[in-house]
Symmetry: C2
């Protein structure tokens, strides 16, 4: 049996294409509908996908006219989906800048229990002043400071998830001893950003620790991923760039002393399927024509830190733009957008079309065979351990991928036919971490009581 690839379904309300909500079949209230998200997760599970995933930022971003920007908070959504599914992994984004480690670690450990070991956390530092202003700040903390806080946040989370030994609960009804105080550990973390005594008030969860996902591709982001992440979502437009990113991140991971197989790199793709290539391209064009460029131009101007009036729709980007070094948020996304526009000499209108389809991720419009070929090429060429599937329109785009691409991947021996494990770690082929307090031995000084 050869190496298999991993597939994650990145879900949004009506899909990743910004105009998808305007399709006649789309539910404009999908973003708050449990029925909608349960059906999507069940479809992904029918396709034996590794996981479903939700992005997040705790702020209302941009104009509400443009698209269904609102969304239910993803950790509670994961818990609801745990009840409606049995095997598929459940990954939510949450911010280390605007949460406290005790509360957030506890929520993820709880979801891991409720789902029988299927929880994953996409760790983000949350760019942007608008989000900061919902949390008592005038502006976002500096990029470097956000990543320092993220690293300490993860250290605290790991301590809290490790704070109960796996065998702490004795359940000795006869003696009347529920758990062993000596196997539950205060974490006593006193650092630059956090002071947390612990222990967690939830026993160690089925996966030991939820799976850690990371999605920032800046230098700070890649270093954080190399130290902590077990899966990485990334936007890569060309095979060469994807190979370079893959090789760089595997090397950085190895340099921290970790096994590079313990970090799965999953570039995003936006599949638009058709019975023929022409049909797929027609569907892509129909979606692009539904974009209202005045909304998208405002967002693009914000991302580029320039005024919307400096972006005439039928010209290329201005020659003078800020350096990536001056950008304090979403650095790697900024660079991707500018590089894409310069490389293909796109007008603002064309760039908006490309970004509107999947915000900088690679669109694959074609037949199921063509999409499968593209995935296989990247997988075999050392550009990906699998893919983050971002359907342009939902629910249809996910169902089409599961019904038409997954069987081809299976026929080629590239994807599982059935789940072989029950946890997200098992789906991704990741080891279950041993508690740092068990490693330290039973006489660890941090033992409580």
């Amino acid at each position: 049996m050869g190496k298999r690839l991993h597939l994650n379904a990145f879900l949004m309300s009506t899909g990743h294409h910004e105009a998808s909500w305007r399709l006649s079949e789309s539910d404009p209230h999908a973003g708050t509908s449990l029925t909608h998200f349960t059906a999507l997760a069940q479809t992904a599970e029918r396709g034996k996908l590794d996981s479903v995933f939700f992005a997040d930022s705790p702020v209302l971003w941009g104009s509400v006219g443009r698209r269904p920007v609102s969304a239910v908070e993803p950790t509670v959504l994961l818990a609801a989906l745990a009840a409606g599914t049995e095997r598929i992994g459940l990954i939510a984004t949450a911010s280390t800048s605007y949460n406290s480690p005790y509360n957030l670690s506890r929520r993820f450990a709880s979801i891991d229990h409720l789902s029988g070991g299927r929880a994953g956390w996409n760790v983000v530092t949350t760019a942007g002043a608008d989000a900061a202003r919902n949390f008592g700040l005038d502006d976002q903390p500096l990029h470097r400071a956000r990543y320092e806080r993220a690293a300490e946040f993860l250290d605290v989370a790991f301590k809290l998830w490790d704070s109960w030994n796996d065998d702490a609960v004795l359940a000795d009804k006869e003696a009347g001893v529920w758990a062993d105080d000596g196997r539950v550990h205060a974490v006593e973390h006193y650092g630059a950003h956090f002071s947390v005594r612990g222990p967690l008030d939830v026993p160690r969860s089925p996966q030991g620790r939820p799976v850690i996902v990371q999605a920032g591709s800046s230098e700070d982001g890649k270093d954080l991923a190399a130290r902590y992440a077990e899966a990485v979502f990334t936007a890569q437009q060309t095979l060469e760039e994807a190979q370079a990113f893959y090789s760089d991140l595997k090397s950085r991971t190895a340099a921290t002393g970790r096994n590079p197989d313990g970090i799965k790199i999953l570039p995003g793709i936006v599949p638009i399927l058709g019975g023929t290539e022409a049909e797929a391209l027609r569907r892509e064009r129909e979606l692009d024509e539904l974009i209202r460029p005045e909304y998208a131009r405002d967002e693009l101007a914000k991302q580029l830190r320039i005024a919307p009036e400096d972006l005439p729709l039928d010209r290329e980007l201005p020659a003078e733009l800020p350096d990536e070094d001056e950008i304090e948020g979403a650095k790697s996304r900024y660079t991707l957008i500018v590089d894409l526009a310069r490389r293909e000499r796109l007008t603002v209108r064309q760039l908006i079309g490309r970004l509107g389809g999947g915000r900088g991720h690679r669109t694959l419009a074609g037949t199921p065979e063509q999409v499968t070929d593209a995935l296989e090429t990247w997988f075999r060429a050392g550009a990906a351990d699998g893919f983050n599937i971002m359907p342009a329109a939902l629910p249809a785009g996910l169902g089409e991928f599961v019904d038409h691409v997954v069987p081809l991947l299976q026929a080629r021996g590239l994807f599982r036919e059935e789940y072989t494990g029950t946890t997200l770690r098992e789906h991704y082929g990741l080891t279950r971490p041993v508690s740092q307090y068990e490693q330290a031995g039973a006489t660890a000084p941090a033992a409580l009581g």
Copy 2:
């Protein structure tokens, strides 16, 4: 049709009696089991109860030897139960001292969407230094300061929940306008404890605002309840005390300009049912005999702010104890315990038995008829709008209440036979609040963009 009473099921892992986990039929891992909690919520729904409820404190409290102290975080548990039930209200406790208003308001609005309007929030300020030490503090903030923060937290939450007009989402596919920027409002709250720009990133939820529950009975707690709460959980041992509390809180509520019918007062009761009174008393005694008093004495000593060795098991409480005024956390619980012990001249061992059954709530051991009589008496005597049902052992205690007490209450015309509404507000007979921004008119200066 006469006035009906309201019933909430207060759920814990294996039940409210501290020794319930030692019963042969109890699952000692129930506290992290979705199967367990889903079955309980479905049982409560079968009984047409108004709601289920989960207490919470973000800390591991006391010895893990004594009982299953751990529990999954209740907001994610609510979301999972939303998927497994259809009509019953879903109430979780969350702390205003150790959360940020944006994140918590968003989670409750999200649960309200996912559940179709069934969410309630029990607002607590979280007593105790141990919890504070999980959030970067050496000790808890002062009682008064915690309540001031709670009031401002609720003001911010109300603004965020109101920040989308009910008709903000236009879903105009033809024109390509998803929502109206003029109907979504920045909240621009800049107060003593919080600065929050808003708006929320979730549209207005089915209930407008989740139902606000409060459970502290100190002076500060009652004032907070009078201003904000729509349901109150309270521990009352005698009819006279319960009547006094009821009348006091209704008056305080009226004094704030609110309709006193808009606050439902629900004392807790711990039912222990038997086919005969003797059988019920035997079941109560069997549970009490499973208590290990050394654990319970340590907790009692902590609550009374004295040393465990000053509490010999077979003597009454010491004559000298701290004044309630000196207590900075859980004031009303402190007073209830001391009053109970003094009034009934209980030894420490007896007091431990009484508290172990339901931590100060009223135990009703008897036949279904006796329990029904007791509920009816308090309801008709102006001591309660309904009850917070705290089964001693779970799941059995809830099933017995639903199968044997609920039908008697229905036969007496005191309780609904079917749900008549779909939201928790409708179950409790509460009005749906109008957004403060809609009241202010379409030209409100807070409109965004």
